[in-house]
Amino acid sequence: MKTTIVKLITCAFLSITTVVCLYAVSDKLTHRQNSFHRYFPPHPILLDTVTQIKFNSYYFSGYDAVSNNIYLGNITAPLHLLKVNTQSKDTSHISVKIDSNSLKRFYAKSRISVTPPYFYLLDGVTPKLLRGNISSWNANEFIYDNAYFNQAIPIGPKSLAIRSIDAENHELILGKVTNKPPNVLLAPNLLEKQLDGIFCTDGSLLYNTKRSKLIYIYYYRNEYLIMDTTMQLVDKRKTIDTNSIAKIKSKAIDHYDSKTMAAPPFLVNKNSYTYKDYLLIHSNLMAKNESKYKFGNSSVIDVYNLNTNTYDFSFYIDSFKGFKLKRFMITDNHLLAIHHNYLVIYELNQNWFSEMKPVSKQNKDNIAIESGNRNTEHLYKK
């Protein structure tokens, strides 16, 4: 009896040790440091207020610089918006009305983008493009809308940049939808295929209103593209890390006629946002001069200056009540962060965000557009 129990305990011990060792080996491989450095100035952002927003499905739809209002769209309620005033912190709900014939069903992928004086309802699955005025919140058809897409962003009153899937080779492709024939202009050769053309070129498409440039930030390599509104490549730039080739493995499952990731992806750039001369990127990689503890408990944002083409600095956004940063955006004076169902508002330290200083309350120029967001699970593998 005794020997049996001893044997059982030994077996259990050996089994546990084996699995723990496997984990330790993998963990060491995945958390290796990267050979680049970050610069952390003191307090570039200061906590202002926290607002509870009830649901964790909100995303940033847009910003009205004149009235200082932020609009939050909701993934699970496609016609609902939450308006938050960044000065008074007042919130109010908005219901978008649509003419019933134009759209019977919404898919989870449909998004609202607010760029005053308009708001856009973008559904790439149906597909449907609707536009309305933010004074009445009534959405109507306004443009040719037969192009399928998986990301879309308004770049003018009657034109949108889209990211779609090429019908011939099933690879990601950028393009533009306008109200002039031929309505859809596809721009092949913008996205550079490294592997499969789907996962390796995945990223987020942003529009910088001030500079009138489109920016495409790859998720899996240290690169972003800058394009003008005619979909011509202007510049190709690097982020600070050293990961120039997408480290992903994809595999086709013939049985299900689908493609999937065959190993945990090595995510470089998570969410990003552009406003005025800044490009902010939530990076997934730890630099040489960071502590693993701090990196693990917060999210690091790298600030790039589009004007000077430089990396300016980085800062941390700490987890809030145990929830990591999910989405973020900046305005002239604030950084807004969504952590689960909390909207955390930080004040920008103007010493560091000096490009924000001439707070021009003009009009359209101050409009930012929602960043491409992504809830990819947290992994930093090398």
Binding site: C11, S15, V19, Y23, L29, K251, H255, A263
Partner: protein, 143 residues
């Protein structure tokens, strides 16, 4: 005494059969959808480095243990093996639940649809019955 011994044998036999069913089912469902299983395992954050090996090793081990369980002479050894394997699986789940940022599951068939906590309880139950089986068998050989 005679009756209790009969009961002991019945008990250990039932336990063995339950394990055989579990292992054969798990192994077969893995082999049947080998492609999917391979991908699921290589996505696991704990097994990234040795994934391609595990893919073959786990179902093979399950089949071998199931065969050993069928042989009365090797039953004790097989129960120890089953016990160890179940402890390993449980540890794996614990690590995944505690430390891993994202969680894929790589168990075949219906086991796929179980939640991680349910899965842990399921595994611990098998650890428990393996323990009972081992204790009964060794007790029998002492008397």
């Amino acid at each position: 005494m005679k009756w209790s011994q009969k009961q002991t044998i019945l008990f250990t036999e039932t336990i063995s059969i339950v394990f055989v069913i579990l292992f054969v089912y798990a192994a077969v469902s893995k082999f049947l959808d080998y492609e999917k299983f391979t991908i699921q395992v290589s996505q696991s954050p704990i097994l990234t480095s040795i994934g391609h090996w595990i893919v073959f090793l786990i179902p093979t081990m399950e089949i071998v243990i199931a065969m050993l369980l069928a042989l009365p002479r090797l039953r004790l050894l097989a129960l120890y093996a089953s016990y160890s394997l179940m402890v390993m699986f449980s540890t794996y789940i614990l690590i995944i639940l505690e430390f891993s940022p994202f969680i894929p599951c790589a168990c075949g068939g219906i086991l796929d649809s179980m939640g991680w906590t349910a899965h842990l309880i399921f595994n611990l139950f098998f650890v428990a019955i393996a323990t009972i089986g081992i204790l009964l068998l060794t007790q029998k050989s002492v008397t």
